[in-house]
């Protein structure tokens, strides 16, 4: 594989450059994601009230964010009344410790887990592995990246960067499928047999949460594969891990969100399973872990507050020209792409300072977001924050300073323009070299013979 996530020191641009070395693979990655974006468009346009749905979803989430304290306590009270056990985790470390404690209390060392970006954010798999717990990810895409020792590169499509031949080889090594068999139907069948054995024998199942309803204390989990349900209903203990922003006020609001989620994610009218867990099954346990991990801080940052409306559909990634051509691992964070580039700096501004710059600010992400988050505007806001904090990438900070200095001196600006035009004409190698990032993968434009000021001065008389 050409992509590995465990190089956190490298900036996005360098990792993207590595991803771009294999041009055929990049083109394939780009086209696959664009195809999913097109499926999303078709699904969205089939609903005439789509824009009403987006606005309503955004407004419901605005209500949630502005009433989060009361909704959280209401949710907790209802969940407790339903017989669930509610835990609160201030950060990733506490979340991981809570999950580990539940496993110890139940004397369990082998568990199944369905897709949960929160547990990825918290590094739960690594933590449990260090404590001798065997975690099997049961979403097919997540299982594939897990067997390969990677993390998901996309929140909805975890192994979107893998080719079927590579998956065939991986399964040959780990699941002993015949060498050279790369048929998706066959490989999925092999994974079904491999994972069924895990579902049938493991006593604790972890899931994420798509929506948590304050009114009823229930959690809703959406999957296509049925892995969350196979895991939880065959286990004695269900641990549902959720960020505190997953709340919605009432069950009827699911009518809005379930119409938006799958259409935005993959172009499906709804996920195959939309499972509503209100009470634990008789004799079994339901734990709900409410995780903050920076969310309450983001709530207080007015410019970035709306990022907490995210329902994790992945539409902003599928449409993003930078994501499609740089791959999810180049973001070095569990949530990649445009929305991840807003969420990651909230957790660690220094570590993720490069991400808000990994965007053209074209606004396509904002246009497809089902809850109308102003994604590209928040990325622009982050850049300003990062300049203020002195954390902007060095090259960009220097060139911006120089541009500001030059633009403040009209005479010098005119001279510099003339000089640049002359240099491009007479000594193009001064610009067309590897030191100039604009020359990478691009031709420089032909220099104009005169500046606009010169042209204007000459033509206004005539």
């Amino acid at each position: 594989m050409s992509v590995h996530p465990n190089k956190p020191s490298q900036p996005h641009a360098e990792l993207a450059q590595q991803f771009n070395k294999d041009e055929d693979r990049v083109n394939w990655h780009d086209e696959t994601l664009w195809w999913i974006r097109q499926k999303r468009d078709k699904a969205a346009w089939s609903v005439p009230e789509w824009e009403w749905l987006r606005q309503t979803a955004s407004d419901i989430k605005a209500h949630v964010l502005s009433n989060m304290h009361d909704l959280l306590t209401q949710f907790e009270a209802q969940a407790l009344a339903n017989g669930a056990i509610v835990h609160w985790a201030a950060d990733a470390a506490e979340h991981n410790a809570i999950v580990h404690r539940i496993l110890q209390e139940n004397k369990v060392q082998q568990i199944v887990k369905s897709k949960s970006m929160l547990t990825e954010e918290c590094g739960l798999n690594e933590y449990l592995h260090e404590h001798g717990i065997d975690v099997v990810d049961t979403d097919l895409g997540e299982r594939i990246v897990q067997l390969a020792g990677e993390t998901p590169s996309h929140i909805v499509l975890p192994c979107i960067h893998w080719k079927k031949e590579e998956i065939g080889e991986l399964f040959h090594q780990h699941l002993h499928t015949p060498k050279g068999n790369a048929d998706p139907q066959y490989l999925t069948g092999a994974a079904r047999i491999h994972l069924r054995e895990k579902f049938l024998t493991r006593k604790v199942a972890i899931t994420g949460v798509n929506f948590a309803i304050a009114e009823t204390g229930e959690v809703v989990v959406c999957t296509n594969e049925g892995n969350a349900d196979m895991g939880t209903h065959l286990a004695d203990v269900h641990i549902a891990c959720m960020g505190i922003e997953k709340l919605i006020p009432q069950r009827q609001h699911l009518g809005v969100f379930t119409r938006l989620l799958a259409r935005s994610a993959t172009g499906q009218p709804i996920t195959t399973y939309t499972s509503h867990f209100r009470k634990p099954a008789p004799g079994r346990q339901l734990h709900i872990v409410l995780v903050d991990n920076g969310r309450s801080r983001q709530l207080g940052r007015e410019a970035f507050r709306n990022s907490l409306k995210c329902i994790r559909c992945g539409a902003c990634m599928n449409t993003c020209p930078v994501y499609r051509r740089s791959g999810g691992h180049s973001y070095k964070y569990a949530i990649s792409g445009p929305i991840g580039s807003i969420l990651a700096p909230n957790l660690d501004m220094r570590k993720h300072a490069d991400l808000p710059f990994a965007s053209t600010l074209c606004g396509s992400c904002t246009n497809v977001c089902p809850v109308k988050i102003d994604i590209h505007e928040q990325l622009y806001q982050w850049r300003q924050e990062l300049y203020k904090e002195g954390l902007a990438p060095k090259g960009k900070a220097v060139s911006m300073k120089m541009a500001g200095w030059l633009l403040g001196k009209p005479a010098l600006y005119r001279f510099a323009g003339k000089a640049a035009r002359t240099v491009l004409r007479l000594a193009p190698f001064m610009v067309k070299n590897s030191l100039n990032p604009w020359y990478k993968q691009r031709e420089m434009p032909a220099p104009p013979k005169q500046s606009f000021s010169e042209w204007y001065a000459k033509n206004k008389k005539a």
Binding site: T32, W35, I36, V47, P48, E49, Q55, I60, H63, L65, S66, M68, H69, W88, A89, A90, E94, D139, L140, I144, P158, C159, I160, W162, K164, Q185, T188, G189, R192, F199, T201, N224, E225, G226, N227, D229, M230, H233, R251, Q252, L254, G255, V256, T258, R259, P269, I270, T272, Y273, T274, H276, R278, K279, A281, D292, S296, R297, L299, G300, R305
Partner: protein
Amino acid sequence: MSSRSKILAQVKANQPASVALPGLELPAHAAQWDALQKFVETLSGIGGRVIRILPGEDVTATLLHAFDANSNILNVSATVQGFQALPDAAFEEPALLQNVDIALMDAAFGVAENGAVWVTEAQYKLRALPFICQHLAVLLPQQELVAHMHNAYQKVQAIGQYDFGVFIAGPSKTADIEQSLVLGAHGPKTMTVFLLP
């Protein structure tokens, strides 16, 4: 201070002034469908199978005809009699259901816009059943169809409280390997809805 108090205090300090909830009345230009036609079209489009039972038709005979003769059918439906019953031991050990070929159950209603049916644990008795079976068969009266998810949740409220409830739209599926759609990921490989007159 406990994490609970800490989180709640910080949320309270940082949340903005309260914004009112929006209304949920659909706009005038919202989609309208012939519910029956749309349901059949949508469920078929996502890999499900729809079989319409005509008035006076023998449901059991049609059921048997729809599946392989060697299949074992576990029936928790109140609409038809016969077939295998849910074994008591499965409540303690749901993994015992791993060899069920076909699970047959009643659905409360279906949703036209996405082909989903609503089933609750109270109706089908054991949570794991519609997921662990190899094939899922659902009986649904054709007048019990709603247009979209807004109506669906009104109906859910009207039916009453549940411990576990699920919308199921077609067979379990995945496209994780190069976006090639494969039906039958971890749950049923097929889903058949029998529409009752």
